[in-house]
């Protein structure tokens, strides 16, 4: 297993969580802490950059659901970018794509998050 590494980036009004490595249920503390920082900075839409994601199991998908609920209850939303064809398929299979906007590139994601 590769550790989860999450970096918080700011591009203008958009907050981006750059996720690298593995996403499993064990990633919860790091992911939630990073989201908390982004929300504390006033971000209403947070971009999840999956371009360096190497592995995700069903625990990881479950974690994204709880993160999504947390964002929605705070009046925010999540936007995704950097998904490979494989992970994009998983988002479709699990119907996560009905709740998280997906964009092909970071610029489009930033535009959507800033709207």
């Amino acid at each position: 297993m590769t550790a989860t590494v999450i970096e918080l980036d700011q591009l203008g009004p958009a907050s981006i969580l750059r996720i690298a490595g593995d996403i499993t249920s064990a990633s919860e503390p790091d992911l939630m802490a990073a989201y908390g920082l982004a929300a504390a900075n006033g971000a209403m839409a947070v971009i999840l950059d999956f371009s360096k994601l190497e592995y995700m199991n069903s625990g990881g998908i479950g974690l994204l659901v709880t993160l999504l609920v947390r964002a929605q209850r705070g009046g925010g939303r999540l936007v995704a970018t950097g998904l490979s064809d494989h992970y994009r398929q998983i988002f479709t299979l699990t119907r996560l794509d009905e709740a998280i906007e997906i964009h092909d590139d970071e610029a489009a994601a930033v535009l959507a998050a800033s709207a």
């Binding site: 592995y55 069903s58 479950g62 609920v69 490979s84 494989h86 699990t94 119907r95 996560l96």
Partner: protein
């Protein structure tokens, strides 16, 4: 000279996930009296009506000499045998593997004359876990993951569900005792699994957390797919269908 391969590397989890599916098919399942799943879409915790709950059931397999991977292999192989008596799981002929569909017949209340017919999709499976996702019509819109891990010398088995009651009637039933019955079902299942591997007097611990107290009212129309209503209708009309030869 061989050209370099420019295609992106395959993810380590690629073989563990079900492939793309629009509508489910239970063609690979034998034995069930009713197929309420073929033609349905999957419906997960984002597509349900009711509050969102995370339920975690764990049992320590003290005294059992079994590794997490061996436990999961056993659990996949004999999954229906650990269910409480009277509840039926019709496994796919090719076993519990990503993309396979299983059918279920559940008595919502022990001894109930109506048996709920529904199913699950095997969403994910690896050596240490497997996950089911429910179809439209199931009383819950859910994922449930069965897993095993090591804690020192002891293997721990776990079932963890992320679930929303699918429609307003299911939400009401859940609040009025359905949730408690559901807990007992999984507690019994984990207890049976532990007993099967030689644990004496297994103790199942249950943790229930409400992840989202808000109901998703836009999904009230899930009721039109309700397996509960369909199963009740089929039970009531069974004598008529028998007389008219419509099975």
């Amino acid at each position: 000279m061989t050209e370099p391969n420019d295609s992106p590397p395959t993810s380590r989890d690629a073989a563990n996930w079900a492939g793309p599916v629009d509508r489910l098919s239970a063609a690979g399942v034998a034995g069930a009296k009713d197929d309420a799943v073929t033609g349905k879409r999957v419906s997960g915790p984002l597509q349900g009506f009711g509050q969102l709950w995370q339920k975690t059931f764990t049992v320590r397999l003290d005294g059992a000499d079994i590794s997490p991977t061996d436990l999961i292999a056993l659990w996949k192989d004999r999954f229906p045998t650990f269910w409480p008596k009277g509840q039926r799981f019709y496994a796919p002929l090719s076993g519990i593997a990503p993309g396979e569909v299983a059918l279920l017949e559940i008595a919502p209340v022990p001894g109930a004359p109506v048996r709920l017919s529904t199913g699950v999709l095997v969403l994910y499976a690896d050596d240490e876990s497997f996950t089911f996702m429910t179809p439209e019509g199931h009383t819950l819109s859910a994922w449930i993951t069965f897993s095993a891990r090591r804690d020192g010398d002891v293997t721990i088995a776990q079932a963890q569900a992320l679930e929303r009651p699918a429609d307003p009637f299911d939400e009401l039933a859940y609040m009025l005792g359905g949730s408690r019955l559901n807990n007992r079902f999984w507690e019994a299942t984990l207890g049976n699994l532990a007993t099967a591997v030689g644990v004496a007097g297994p103790v199942v611990e249950t943790q229930v957390v409400c992840i989202d107290r808000m109901r998703q009212w836009r999904y009230w129309r899930n009721v039109r797919n309700s397996a509960s209503i369909r199963s009740a209708r089929r039970t009531l009309t069974a004598p008529i269908r028998k007389l008219t030869g419509r099975g």
